[in-house]
Every structure is written in C-alpha cells, then in structure tokens.
C-alpha cells in the first residue's frame, strides 16, 4: 500500500499508510495525522511531511546494493535524459535506478538476469505506480531487443560484454553510462569501447559531503562515503 505521509520525531522517520501508527515514541492517531502536526499518546511531538520521490526511496524494498542518490543524479543529468528519452537499464537490481529514470524519461526498459532481483524491481516499480517501465527477465550479455535508444545505463560487472549490442541498440549520439566500483574495470571498458568505435566522453567520481549547520556548530559530517563507483560516459558516433 502507498505511503501517504512521513512522520518525523527525534531524527527518526516513520511511514504512514492508513489507520493508527505505532512507534517507539508512542501511538499516533490516524485522524490526527491527516490534520498535520501531531502528538503521540506519550505526548511526543511529530512533524508530518508530504513525501516526495526522494523521501520514498528510503522505504523501498531492499535487495542488492543500491546506487546512491548522488550517482543517480549525475547519471540522469549528464546523459541528457528528458521527457522524450527512451532508456534501457541493466541490471534492474532493486529497481531504484529504473524508477529514477522512469520518473524523468518517456519510457524505460530494464533487463535483469536474476529472478529474485527481477521480482523485487517489479514490486518497487509498482509501489511507485510507474506505468512507463517494462521489466524483462533477460541477460543483457546475450543481446538487446530494442532499437533507437537514447541512453543505456549499465550497473553490472562486465559492461564490455554489452558494447556490441549497445552499438546496435543506441541511436547516433546516444549515451552509454557505466557504474563501476573498480578502476580496473574502467580501464578494460575504455579500451574495448575505443576498439568498438565509441567516443569515450569522460570518467568521473562524485563525492558528497553533508554539513551540520546548528546554532553553535557548523562542520562537515564525519560520515561520508569514501567511494561508491566510477561513472563512465560513452557516446555512439
């Protein structure tokens, strides 16, 4: 069932769907939640928040390691995706990138070879009510059915196995993005991409640092990801 509101209390976030909500800060009445700012029966105050997509991703069913928001943001923008884009995504994994793409693009096709991931992605796509996603239980290393794609995003260990298929499936000028943890993978990808006639646009990494901004203290957060992945952007020419 769809999450309608988020309730915030002492740094913790609770998802509300319907009825009364039981939390470790006490019970909150469904009727009160509909009205706005509320208190629990333990007299704890909650902030009620209308969730946006980004809020809701925190409540997705978790599966294999999910890409971080910072990397998804960069992939979406740098690959030039907009309302008219047709995008292929593989592997689906938990579906986070798939859903993020689908909220911007016209249509997203997502391949996944592992059945459990495929099912998980399906659940998450449904949860967000996205209608422009086609999920296929299919090994992208074996080929791509689609043609004239604007963008292909690959979050899988051997993207060089997809280069030949991608070349046929992408339209001229189309972008192939890879998400790779190891720079050794990037090395191999770039080498093979050049041999396959792709334009190697750029490889980059993104570091995000949160800041604490309080009355008496302003400093970066101690917690920070030292690394997630290298993003490589190739172009069909």
């Amino acid at each position: 069932m769809e999450i309608k509101k988020l309730l915030l209390c002492e740094g913790k976030t609770f998802a509300w769907r319907e009825g009364d909500l039981h939390t470790n800060f006490g019970l909150v009445k469904g009727e009160d939640i509909k009205q706005g700012k509320v208190k629990s029966n333990k007299d704890k105050e909650f902030i009620v928040l209308e969730p946006n997509f980004n809020d809701l991703t925190a409540f997705m069913k978790r599966g294999p390691q999910m890409p971080l928001a910072k990397d998804i943001a960069i992939i979406l923008y740098y690959s030039g995706i907009d309302k008219d884009s047709i995008v292929l995504d593989a592997g689906s994994g938990s579906g986070l990138l798939t859903c993020s793409l689908a909220r911007i693009a016209k249509k997203v096709i997502s391949y996944e070879v592992k059945e459990s991931n495929h099912k998980l992605a399906k659940k998450n796509v449904e949860k967000f009510g996205l209608k422009n996603v086609e999920l296929k239980l299919k090994d992208i290393y074996q080929g791509i059915d689609e043609k004239d794609l604007d963008v292909i995003t690959l979050d899988l260990p051997e993207p060089w196995q997809v280069l030949e298929h991608a070349k046929k499936a992408l339209k001229l000028g189309g972008t192939l993005v890879t998400y790779l943890p190891s720079i050794k993978q990037v090395d191999q990808l770039v080498k093979e991409a050049k041999q396959n006639g792709f334009l190697v646009s750029k490889t980059l990494e993104v570091l995000e640092r949160e800041w604490l901004v309080k009355e008496n203290i302003i400093r970066p957060s101690h917690d920070m990801y030292g690394h997630t992945a290298f993003l490589t952007f190739l172009r069909k020419i």
Copy 2:
C-alpha cells in the same frame, strides 16, 4: 539558429548549424557533415556527434556565473522533480538552471530582477526550444505570484528574504533549494528557515573529479573545482 551537429578534432569541439564549417583545422563541407565521419580540406579527421542537452549547454550565451552541471544534477534529483512538477526558479541568470529544470518539469517560472540577465535567459530558453518556461522580469524579494509550487530553486545572495513568500507559494511538502557560496549565508538561512517553520532537510556540497583513463596512465585530473556552492534543502511542513 539551432545547432545540428558537433564536430570534434584534437580535443576541440565545433558547433555546426548549416553550410560549410570553417575551423582552424581547415574547412569541412556541409554535405560531408550530414553523412558522418569527415575530413577537412587540410586532411584533418573530425568526429561528428549528435548533440544532447548537456553538449549544447557549452554553447549557451554566457552571462553571470553559471552553476556547474554537478550542482544542477543534485538539485534536480534531490528536490524530487519529475514530469508533473511546477517549479519556480530565481534569479534566472543566464537561464542554465531554468532550462535544465524545464527539460524535466511540467512548467518552470523564472524570476530575474536584472533586465540584461532576463533577456539573456530568454535567448537561451528560445535556443533550446523550450515551451514550458515563463520568464518574469521581477524581484522575488518583493513576493511570489504563484501558488501550489512543488519546488523553488534560489540562486541569489539573500534567500532568507524569500522565506515568507516561499512558504505561501509552496505546497505542503514542497522543497526550497538554495545555492550559496558562503557557509555564513547557509548559517543565516538555516536560522531564519527554522524561525519560519521550515523543515531543514540537509546542507551538502558535491565534489566532482574527472579521471584520465589512457593506455599507459590512469589518474585523476589535476583540474578540479575546490568549491562552487553549498546546497541547502528546506521543506514546507
């Protein structure tokens, strides 16, 4: 006139609209460009690329300092903008953020107080053929006409002057994003946002580092922006 192709040669990029193209690597015939890979009359080989939005931003008419792609990407994704979003943007500046928003959102209204910027933004919006943008020559510190906005993005020096207006103009759960170079500005914004009843979601900074991946050398680029801005996300509750 619209840019139809990009021509790449020895790390330089040339925009082609129509006819023959004169470059410092020689003249390239318009007829050849339409066909794909071409040579100039000096026998220099060019790569022909179908441009995407990101490519084209490099050819926008430049005005005041423009936000970097990395920061725009984060603003777009973290504020949860999608095809249904109505977004207000101020100040327009050169219109880069305005255009980036308009390619994703349903509708973008952009305020700018300086006439030269307003005209520049107009030219750039037209250049991209974006129909869902309304540009207003108007001081946002004086008030906001719109209601029920999903997101407001502020790239101006005193965003705290907009807080009261933004509170009326945003829908419940809507996001206000600020782009501020100095952490002192963030300090003042956060203080006043709390007083105005906003939920202070987070402040962050993003570092992007490009990598050179060649046959014999793999290393980060020496060039890197040490800083652009702190991004702060507020929510109307």
Copy 3:
C-alpha cells in the same frame, strides 16, 4: 613494558613484549618471534614486523579523542618544526600530538588542565621513552610560563583565550596552530587573531583516502573520515 615486535595475521596486529604470545589464531612461542616469520600452534602463519613510531601509536593508552595522523603530519610540516624547535602543546589529551612533536623537536612542553588526561599523557610519553617532554598540569587559558617558543599547537575548544598569552610566549615569526572541528570556531579565532596583531597565514582541511590495490580490484576504500578538523596557522609578526 616496551613493545618489541608486531605480529600480523589475517589483517590483525598483535603487540609482542616478551615471552609467549596468546592470540585468537593460537599460541606463538617467544623464541620463534625473535627469529622472524613464525607459525602458531594452530599452524597459522604470522608476519613479524619491527615497529616504527607510527605502528606503535595504535597501541597507545586511549583517552579523549585523538587527532588523526594526517592532521598531525600537516601540523608538524607546515609549522616548520625541526630538530632545533622549542614547542608548546595544549591540551595534552592522550599525548599523541605531544609525542609526535617530541620525536622531531628539541623540546616540547605540554599543558593539560584535566588531571586524568595529564596522567594518561605521562604514561604514553614514558611508553615511548621520550626524554625531551615536560608535562604540566596547568590551564593554558591562565597564561604561559615559557618565552621564545618556535611553535604553539592548540587542540582545545577556545583557542582565542590563548592569543594574548601566545603573543608574549612566541618568538617573532613563530607559528600558532589550532585544531578546530567547527568553522564557527575558526571564524571567531581569525577575527580575534587579527585584532591581536597576528598574521593569519591560512586555514585548511585535509582529506585522506586509502586505496585497495589487489590483483583484480583497484578502488578507493569505502571508509573515509568526512571531517576531523580545520587547521589554522597564525604567525607572530
């Protein structure tokens, strides 16, 4: 008692002083350790390492939060400390910075206001057998006894309370270094330092990122400190 060797096994490090060593990988004989590469009675192989100062700091008695090696390294080098330097350090804390200074400088005097820290620092100084350290149980906010100091290092919350004392205690051109977690503290320090006639040389932060370099994977470590402290360097002029 002094640590004579370190024994490494499966990513874990054990300190050996004398006699047999009991580890969770089995018992290792003292006689074997003296010879070099050894096996435990469970047939586990250990690497035997002659420790240097940096290795040994991992076995110091822990107290209040200790500065990281990266920050100590920068403090030591940027403040121009060498074999002839007389340095004042406050507060002693666990004594890690004190000991690091003492290994380079001619003499280190270290003030600490809290008795438990003072005792802890004393133990650690003794552990390293450093003879050129004088530890004082004394509040540096109340004054400095010494004169003609080359460098003063301050790891305490209100270094601006030390500015006037430092001005008298430092020699001309001498350096005052502060280690401050919050940029708000730096702001106040810089303001007061200018009023006190110090030359504000620079404020910086240092990020260190470790890399995994293995046969099949080369990538940055996921673990990284997003922040420790801002280092500010002032000069007496």
Copy 4:
C-alpha cells in the same frame, strides 16, 4: 645569500637578504626592515616576517616538478622518521624532499641520475645550510651503496626497479615510500613488491583544501589540486 626576512604587501611576498629592497610597491630601506613594520617610499605598509623553513621553500631554485607540502608532510610522518633516522632519497630532483627529510632525520643520502638536477639540488641544500645531506650523481636503478637504512623515499617513474636493491639496503621493519602519479604504476609496484617479499602497508591519496575566512564570507578556495600522486608505503619484513 641567505634570506633573512620576508616582506608582505597586498598578498605578495618579497625576500630580503641585505641592503635596500626594490619592490613594485616602492623602495624599502634595509635599516627599516631590521626594525620591524615598515613603509616604502611610496607610503605602502609592509609586514615583516621571520621566515621558517616552509616559507623559504617558496624561494627555492625551481627545477623539475616539486612534490607539494601536503604529500611531503604525509611521507615524513607515516614513514616514522625522527632524529635518529638514516634516509635514502631518489631522485633528488630540485631537492625539496631531500631538504625536508634532512631537517628531521639524522642523515639523508640522495641519488640523482640527471646532472642538472643534481646540481640544482646541491644549490638548494646549501641554501638551507643543511650539513647532514650527501648528494650522489648516481642511478638508483643500478644499486644502492648504503646498508641498514630506516627509510627510502622514491619519486621516480619505475620504483619496482629499486625493490631488490631496497630490500638489501633497508633494515628490518624499514619503510619504502613511493610517490606515483598513476594508479597503473601503483598496481605494478604492489604486484612486484609482494613477489619481493615486502609487506604492502597502504596506498593513499591526500586532498588539501584551503579556506577563505573573512568578515563576511567563509568558503573553501576555488583553487585545489585534484591530484598530485598516490603514496604507497611498503615495509621490509
């Protein structure tokens, strides 16, 4: 001749040795400089600073690319160098690392294969009046004369050519540090170091970011090195 004072005016730094000083802000009398704060004949005020080692490195005779202070600092500290250390350094280059080592260590031997660099390093060592440095015009790839070294620092393109020599020259537990721009070089080094029986301690990179802290603006500097080198620490076991 030795630099005795530095004069600072409007962000520029001038070195004073003796006599009157001619600057683009006017002439400053030698007699005035000896006294402290001075004005030029154009009525410009100068700050007079007693230089420390770090200040003076800015006035070294420049030759091949010099390592940055941040990297030297980390090398010095992490390799555990102190007053008793005997260190070998190659190649000398301009001598900056050699001099930095010599100010801490008991003795530094520095090899350089190129005569122009060797002479340059010699000049810089003399400039700093360092007596504990021995500069050799010698190719370290051909062998190392010394024994029982505490630390070897290598700033040269193929450090794996030095591994066998280093193994004989280092004492047990001694550290070999390499400064390598490309992670491909690190990959090869680590592979061969393991084959040669070294303990691969760690590889890291250090980012330093300066901050502007003024009355009305507090922000990181825009200028920042995106990359200098990867530092790898090996241990003889």
